[in-house]
């Protein structure tokens, strides 16, 4: 999610060529492009409870690690996690690949069943569809990992050493197939120095938001903006978070479960109406044509007050942020006086997915690699190299935090147990997600209203339910 990149022409041609030419074309040479076995049974790996080597890793077996080389880089793997693994299993051979276009490089390898990597950081614009991978039996069930003893405290299961809900963030078809490693906190970002100098404080309710927006507007600053061209999902996150605050997390769970009428619930409609009012009155329609970095840079230049995003923002903007600009995070304002969750409630979600291949040469090695990543040492190294926090609890202790990350900590402290759950449908049903982007821009730029927005999304959700058939995914919490 942190990486949005354009495509150049060659790329585009190559990609489109892949549909009509390359993918089927290979089959003439290799007899069967559409091949791949129907065997959906992956290798079973269980945890023995042995704190040293719970998965029975064989140091003689090499480990093939593929890392997405995007916004986070791949230094965290080559300089932190891989050396840790090699130290724990002396003599082990690690084959590292830092790849930008994950899907293009790996899809043929999974499809043909040869040279399957053991550990994959599946991210970027060209990530692989994990639903499809799971269906084909390529993903290793991570139950054993979450139940294995933590490296830091053998008496503790890894499940209890990470953020609550983090293992569930990696559910595919009801099974923990993915590890969501990075923790991101979502809300409205502003320049705390600018606000201090003007005497403004982030609004706690939408009424306060509107009053403050009038003041900000009169100073010649745009009160709120998001990039419609490629980041309309930043706006729908705000709508969904507000909907959860109004009606409780159940609203988002119902949406993920494609429950009948989930989108037309009063909470979603109220949230949509509240945000549509802010964007139509206190933003500018020209932002629909800009990309996220353009809008973010305008905020750095002091032209925009509030920007909806996640905690990677500060790191992403490091190069264009002036020294006087200090990122601060505010929770989304309360919509009604009777909201189910308090103002302080905030979305903290696990993201950035990693998986172990069930049909690779070394699934137990992959699980052990994850266990190293989920230790405090591995997580701390990751935060140092990539500037992002992880799901590992207490791993950032002792690190000097930037203004943005400190405000994330403060917000998390204030929120306590009032955590807005993450939305899984974004990854489960891509077509529904695409429709949501479209409808979000329609709503936020005044081409539609909250009622029409909810009706259009309900229609798309009904279609997703019909298309999914037996593959319908569910979550309970």
């Amino acid at each position: 999610m942190t990486e949005i990149s354009g495509l150049d022409r060659r790329d585009v041609l190559k990609r489109i060529g892949l549909v009509a030419v390359a993918a089927p074309g290979l089959s003439v040479l290799s007899a069967c492009a559409t091949g791949g076995s129907d065997d959906t049974k992956g290798g079973d790996v269980s945890s023995s409870g042995d704190a040293k080597n719970p998965f029975g890793v064989d140091a003689a077996k090499p480990l093939n690690v593929v890392i997405f080389k995007g916004g986070l880089g791949d230094d965290y793997a080559t300089q932190v996690h891989e050396p840790m693994y090699a130290k724990a299993y002396p003599g082990v051979k690690i084959k590292h690949e830092g790849i930008v276009e994950i899907g293009k490089a790996l899809q043929p390898r999974f499809s043909s069943g040869t040279d399957i990597p053991d550990v994959v950081a599946n991210a970027g614009t060209d990530l692989m569809d994990t639903g499809a991978l799971a269906e084909a039996g390529h993903l290793q069930d991570l139950t054993a990992l979450w139940d294995a003893p933590s490296l830091d405290d053998p008496a503790k299961k890894i499940r209890d050493a990470v953020l609550a809900g983090a293992p569930e963030a990696g559910l595919v078809a009801g099974k923990p197939f993915l590890m969501a490693y990075v923790s991101s906190t979502y809300g409205l970002w502003y320049d705390s120095e600018l606000f201090k100098s003007k005497g403004w404080t982030p609004p706690k309710t939408f009424d306060e938001f509107k009053t403050l927006a009038e003041t900000i507007k009169s100073e010649g600053i745009t009160p709120f903006a998001y990039a419609g061209k490629n980041a309309s999902y930043y706006a729908y996150w705000m709508i969904l978070i507000s909907a959860a605050k109004i009606g409780g997390n159940q609203v988002l769970i119902d949406i993920d479960n494609l429950k009948d009428g989930a989108w037309t619930s009063p909470a979603v409609e109220q949230a949509a109406a509240a945000w549509a009012e802010i964007n139509t009155k206190y933003s500018d329609k020209s932002f629909e044509g800009l990309i996220h970095t353009e809008v973010q840079t305008q905020q750095n230049q002091g032209k925009i007050a509030f920007y909806p995003s996640g905690s990677w923002l500060e790191n992403e903007q490091a190069a264009s942020t002036p020294k006087t600009f200090k990122y601060g995070l505010a929770p989304t304002p309360s919509v009604t006086a009777s909201d189910a969750l308090p103002y302080e409630a905030i979305r903290v979600a696990a993201g950035e997915y990693y998986f172990v291949s069930a049909k690779g040469q070394n699934p137990s090695g992959g699980l052990e690699y994850f266990r190293q990543m989920l230790s405090k040492e591995g997580a701390k190294g990751f935060t140092e190299k990539s500037g992002s926090l992880t799901i590992v609890q207490g791993a950032a202790e002792g690190l000097t935090l930037s203004p943005g990350l400190s405000s994330v900590f403060a917000a998390q402290q204030a929120a306590g147990n009032n955590i807005v759950t993450t939305s899984l449908f974004e990854n489960w049903y891509k077509e529904l997600e695409t429709e949501l982007r479209r409808q979000t821009n329609n709503l936020m730029y005044g081409r539609s209203d909250a009622k029409k927005f909810c009706a259009a999304m309900q229609k798309a959700a009904d279609k997703a339910k019909k298309d999914a058939g037996a593959d319908l995914q569910t979550r309970t919490a």
Partner: protein, 303 residues
């Protein structure tokens, strides 16, 4: 000599034909087969008959993409060819008779030819970046900056669903005109000069010269141009991808079939469904080319 010819021809043609068969014909045939399946690219495909094609015509994004192709098919060749014809006429014949009674173009026509051709050499990605600034919806945009000077509010070129598609077609016209100016110039220079001179001597003005002499004699070249542009109208993928809001938006107002294919493959992993779209696109392009050739067929004029 005779018996040596066959191995000679086979020797030269074998490799290109095999490559063509393996990398072009083969995949085309297989796309037809994949179009009849449900396939996510990882699991074995499942045969579902014509279901994909039935779904296609209920697919709102796909049908609006088809509608856009229809508009592009009408406007893109028409606008490009008319502008290109006009320019190439001016560049080659529009200057009237020169010193020796031969037809010449307007002054500096050599320089204009280079200027017109320049956009053609730009990659689409560069074009996208360029027009991002030209169309920028604030006063820092090139067009809106000028409009702002005369007090017109910024036009939302790519943000307004009503004009977004036309804005993108405009970019493609701008880019294509140069190539056809050069193509038509070549066509015009192959028309014998005496034909023009004879017509001019008989008192034909520039208008008559153009419609009665140039156009009929240029018909073949025009037909080729029309087919090229028609086929280009069925593509448009790259420019829409780089320039449009929300890839094919706002509100699906600029989406094209190739973009929907891309989305089905790389976002939804629906390779069978995407192939079905590809098959439809294949037949549309083929039908268009065949129709154009048939409808525009005329007696060839021999000089």
């Amino acid at each position: 000599m005779r018996q040596g010819r066959l191995p000679f021809i086979v020797g030269f043609l074998a490799i290109p034909v095999i490559l063509y068969a393996v990398f072009v014909i083969g995949p085309y045939i297989q796309a037809f087969q994949i179009a009849l399946t449900e396939w996510n690219g990882y699991k074995a495909p499942e045969f579902i008959g014509l279901q994909n094609f039935r779904d296609l015509f209920e697919d709102e994004a796909f049908t609006s993409a088809l509608k856009h192709h229809l508009w592009i098919l009408i406007t893109l060749p028409l606008a490009t060819l008319v502008i290109a014809l006009f320019f190439s006429f001016l560049l080659n014949v529009g200057g009237g008779s020169g010193k020796n009674g031969t037809m010449t173009g307007v002054r500096f026509s050599g320089f204009y030819k280079v200027v017109f051709f320049l956009p053609q050499v730009l990659a689409i990605a560069i074009l996208g970046v360029l027009f991002q600034s030209v169309y920028r919806p604030t006063e820092s945009g090139m067009i809106n900056g000028l409009l702002g000077k005369v007090g017109i509010a910024p036009v939302q070129f790519l943000n307004d669903p009503k004009i977004a598609l036309w804005s993108i077609i405009g970019v493609v016209v701008w880019q294509s005109v140069g190539f056809y100016v050069v193509l038509f110039s070549a066509g015009m220079s192959s028309i014998p000069k005496d034909v023009f001179e004879a017509a001019a001597l008989d008192g034909a003005g520039r208008f008559t010269l153009f419609f009665r002499v140039t156009l009929p004699l240029l018909w073949d070249t025009l037909q080729v141009g029309w087919i090229y542009l028609g086929i280009a109208a069925f593509d448009m993928f790259a420019i829409v991808q780089v320039l449009s809001v929300d890839q094919g938006g706002p509100d699906n107002s600029t989406t094209v079939v190739a973009l929907e294919i891309y989305r089905q493959v790389f976002r939804y992993s629906e390779l069978g469904y995407a192939s079905a779209m590809g098959v439809v696109l294949f037949f549309m392009t083929l039908t268009f080319a065949a129709l154009t050739l048939r409808v525009t067929r005329r007696e060839r004029i021999e000089y």
